[in-house]
Symmetry: C2
Subunit: 307 residues, 2 copies
């Protein structure tokens, strides 16, 4: 697939995601009889709208397409996932957590609003994610929607994203004596903290398409590879990237002494690992032939992105 | 129903809830291949275990019983709801929110652990609530479980609990010039902040029992009445209660200038409103005859509780 074709597809889904998120977070959707906590809604919109590659919705839409699931439902499921991702960003940026002032080139929610509003906005983005994932429009079969809800909860919870963030804070030496994590510990931490939602994005398309077990296994393998690749690329950008292009401070993870594979493997070793993971992602997609070309291009994009 | 019979029923459900929550939050439930963010799990257990009347699970179990739904599933749904309630307590207690040091007679999560852990514990309690609500064991029909997930999300989100908390913070004058709320504004705020989850608890039993529309409407009316009664009783306890018995500081809401009906209606006026709401709850239950005696006793318990 030509790079420009891939970029067009990615941009198309990002545009559709943005428009759908805008509708989902419209003030008019508040039930008429309730008072209108507009400040909370504005903070949710601040977090969820305006930018972002929308990589997770893209993965849902493209894996759903691979298995012949309807695009509209996949896009809505992708928006639910994106809202859950946004919740995690809002809370991770809080002063008590990573204490970040900038996100995607703009003030973080607690800087643009205040800390209480940011806590509530993150909370409500998570709630809305589950609300949307359960809606009829995602898929006609309740059993498909309930499977999505359960998998999303597992990806986001104690054994996934939130648990990974806890391990990350622990690794900084906040609660116990700081010690360097081993390579397998870092791989596990990252598979939880960032990998779980990316794996879920891929699995969601397979669930929507009611794919069989062998296909599910292939997509799981692909998702695991690109999830790890995503984090290594992120860690490399922190070391080598440009703050303006990133929209956040470069070098911050190194300064915080965050556990990254770049620190353990060196830059060259991390690049080699990245190449290996892209090959692994390609191998996982072999059973699908040319139909999976967009997913192949996505793996490459993840490895080579500059922001 | 004799007061002792009611107390026995309430205590029985509280005991079962405690045991089930303990199992649901057991360290052994973490998937084997993940690292174990035990500090996070401990903080979740600190919040969810050890005390509490378990009024919301009780309402789920008793309304489910009224409609002939299985007790085991209702208890599990009740635990999911209780975990969501616990998340809201952990976050509301945070320094940036209500800044409370005591909850149920013990240090709040951010005092017993730290702020980052408390934010993550709240987040993960919410995730786990949706995880559990979606489980097969709640009800054999996926469409029943998906209805529970959707209703829980609506009760917890922007138009419900979280939106109400935002309105409550606004009413304190944090974001705009403080002004006294009108009585209808206070009623709406409270219907969102605390009423929504109590209404959901009642509705959940009706959903589990696949009750028809007239029964659903009766239970909705009952839930709305006891939800409002619960908050008025809470506000009266803040004014008249004893800190030791409450397990938290009395007089705190008055000191913070919180919007309460006691402030608007006076103590006598609030007591009269409480009596009116209990009569309203009784009237809503009329179609069910003696089968609803436990729910009648629950309304009385809510009005007369001392903690």
């Amino acid at each position: 697939m030509a790079a420009s074709d891939f970029t067009n597809r990615l941009t198309a889904v990002a545009t559709e995601t943005e428009a759908l998120l805008d509708r989902l977070l419209d003030g008019a959707v508040l039930p008429g009889e309730t008072a209108r906590p507009l400040r909370l809604l504005e903070a949710m919109r601040w977090s969820a709208l305006g930018s972002g590659k929308r990589l997770r919705p893209f993965l849902v839409v493209e894996t759903a397409a691979l298995f012949g699931a309807a695009r509209d439902g996949a896009l809505l499921a992708g928006c639910a996932l994106e809202l859950l991702h946004c919740y995690s960003l809002v809370h991770d940026d809080l002063p008590a957590m990573d204490n970040d002032d900038l996100r995607r080139g703009r003030p973080t929610v607690h800087r643009a609003f205040d800390e209480a509003t940011a806590i509530l906005a993150g909370d409500t983005l998570q709630t809305l994610a589950f609300d949307i994932m359960a809606r009829d429009e995602v898929h006609g079969e309740p059993r498909v929607r309930i499977a999505l809800v359960r998998e999303l909860a597992r990806a986001a919870g104690l054994g996934g994203m939130a648990g990974g963030q806890m391990l990350d804070l622990s690794a900084e030496g906040r609660f116990e004596t700081k010690r360097a994590l081993t390579e397998p510990e870092i791989v596990t931490l990252q598979a939880m903290k960032t990998g779980a939602l990316i794996r879920f994005a891929c699995n969601a398309g397979a669930i929507l398409g009611q794919a069989g077990a062998p296909s599910r296994a292939s997509i799981e393998r692909y998702g695991a590879a690109i999830g790890q690749a995503f984090q290594i690329a992120d860690d490399l950008l922190d070391v080598e990237g440009d703050s303006a292009q990133l929209g956040k401070a470069a070098g911050k993870d190194v300064a915080a002494g965050k556990a990254t594979l770049v620190a353990v493997l060196s830059i060259a070793g991390a690049r080699a690992r990245l190449d290996h993971l892209i090959a692994e992602a390609d191998a996982a997609l072999a059973p699908f032939g040319a139909k999976a070309d967009t997913l192949r291009a996505t793996a490459r994009f993840i490895a080579e992105r500059q922001s």
